[in-house]
Amino acid sequence: MFQRTSSTNIRFVVFALVSVFLIAVDPHQSHLKFLRTLLTTLVYPIQYVVNIPIEITEWGSTTLVTHSTLLKENERLKQERLLLSRKLQRYIVLETENRRLRKLLESSFKINDKVLVAELIGVELQTFRKQVVINKGLREGAYEGQPIVGSTGIMGQIIHVGPFSSTVLLITDSDHALPVQINRNGLRAIAVGTGNNNKLLLEHLPNTADILVGDLIITSGLARRFPSGYPVGKIKKIAYIPGEAFAKVTIEPSAQLSQLREVLMVWPNEKADEINKYLDDLTTKFRQ
């Protein structure tokens, strides 16, 4: 009896110390990446199973639809496609022109990044942080710090990579800061998260800065982590507080952070060969 108690005490002290060591080391250094990757592999099957009912309902809602709904959707998609392809034609012309002009200026400029579609896994993480899990990991070439984009704007970045899944920190997490600029005049700022799903704050913009409600905010690409030129959101409110040097600027993120199921992983520095080839083909066609 006594023996067991004393061995439990020793074990408690040892493992408590190991935990304290982990807590002290983990936030600052990357030595523990290996351990985390290993454990993520163990946890992934559990998360996968939790996600199955959600997948099934999703599958059900796409499979069990009426003929007329499908027809309507098809009609809508066709229209959308037509509109988009019209826009694309103009875009292609503009892009070639832009490239030619850039070449004249001798500056290199990459417009197309390599992308891959990932799907969100419906599991709950720590409640007061804004994080999500996606179903792509090391196997697909994900890396720590990789930008994640939704269909309408920047979503966040990967903070932990496992073999089959990754954890994404959303731009609305209160520990997230994103270098941005205002599309209208190129004014640079930092957008920080608030922990609230539809609110970001622009920090340290002086009261006299040229900003208007409704201005489009895009990524500036300055931290080299996010590619430049992706939409972040629109300015929703500007509050000038008397006596304060900085205005309080609220942004509404353009990505629907709480609704998305599919997201894009972006490799900012790798050109998307396929898209480029496609564009080049089209360009030669248009020239002829």
Binding site: R4, T5, T8, N9, R11, F12, F15, A16, V18, S19, V20, F21, L22, I23, D26, P27, L32, L35, R36, L39, T40, L42, V43, I46, Q47, V49, V50, I54, G122, V123, E124, L125, Q126, T127, F128, R129, Q131, I159, H160, T167, S174, D175, G195
Partner: protein, 161 residues
């Protein structure tokens, strides 16, 4: 005294289900009321079979939870270790208590568990929680009698000791 291997699968399964319940998405209003499933199941097994479920298993479960929730590594691990330590040191008393008194003790242990995590978050500057942070201790307390009876029946059926 030879340790019995019987029922390891059942115990592991109960922990896996507990982690699943922790990962299960809930509607927004319910999120902050989710019981600390893993901690409660851990308390049960530490109380029922203290020879088999000890500090190391608690620590490992904590690490798994940390990874699942995207926390700093060690946060849950430290708190889980504490819970196992407290329970193993008081299992004889706990077994003798009536259910309600056990539930109150479980609530007390979970408050300590949450306090340790809270202090770690404050130390790391990551604390963004409000008063609802402490609610799981209460819901876990309400859950305890039912969970105790279910797990006891499972244990008896499979003769785990």
């Amino acid at each position: 005294m030879k340790k019995s291997k019987k029922g390891n699968g059942i115990i592991a399964m109960s922990f896996i289900i507990a982690i699943m319940l922790t990962a299960l998405p809930l509607p927004d209003w319910a999120v902050n009321w989710r019981p600390d499933w893993v901690a409660v199941v851990l308390i049960y097994w530490c109380m029922a079979v203290p020879d088999r479920i000890g500090i190391f298993i608690a620590w490992f479960l904590g690490l798994l939870l940390d990874v699942q929730q995207g926390n700093i590594l060690g946060q849950n691990a430290l708190s889980m270790t504490l819970i196992a330590f407290l329970t193993i040191n008081s299992y004889q008393r706990m077994r003798a208590y009536p259910l309600l008194q056990q539930a109150v003790l479980v609530c007390f242990y979970l408050l300590l568990y949450k306090l340790v995590m809270f202090l770690i978050l404050v130390y790391l500057g990551l604390n963004k929680s409000d008063w609802t942070y402490w609610m799981p201790a209460i819901t876990s307390m309400l859950l305890w009698p039912w969970l105790f009876i279910i797990l006891r029946d499972v244990r008896r059926k499979h003769r785990i000791s």
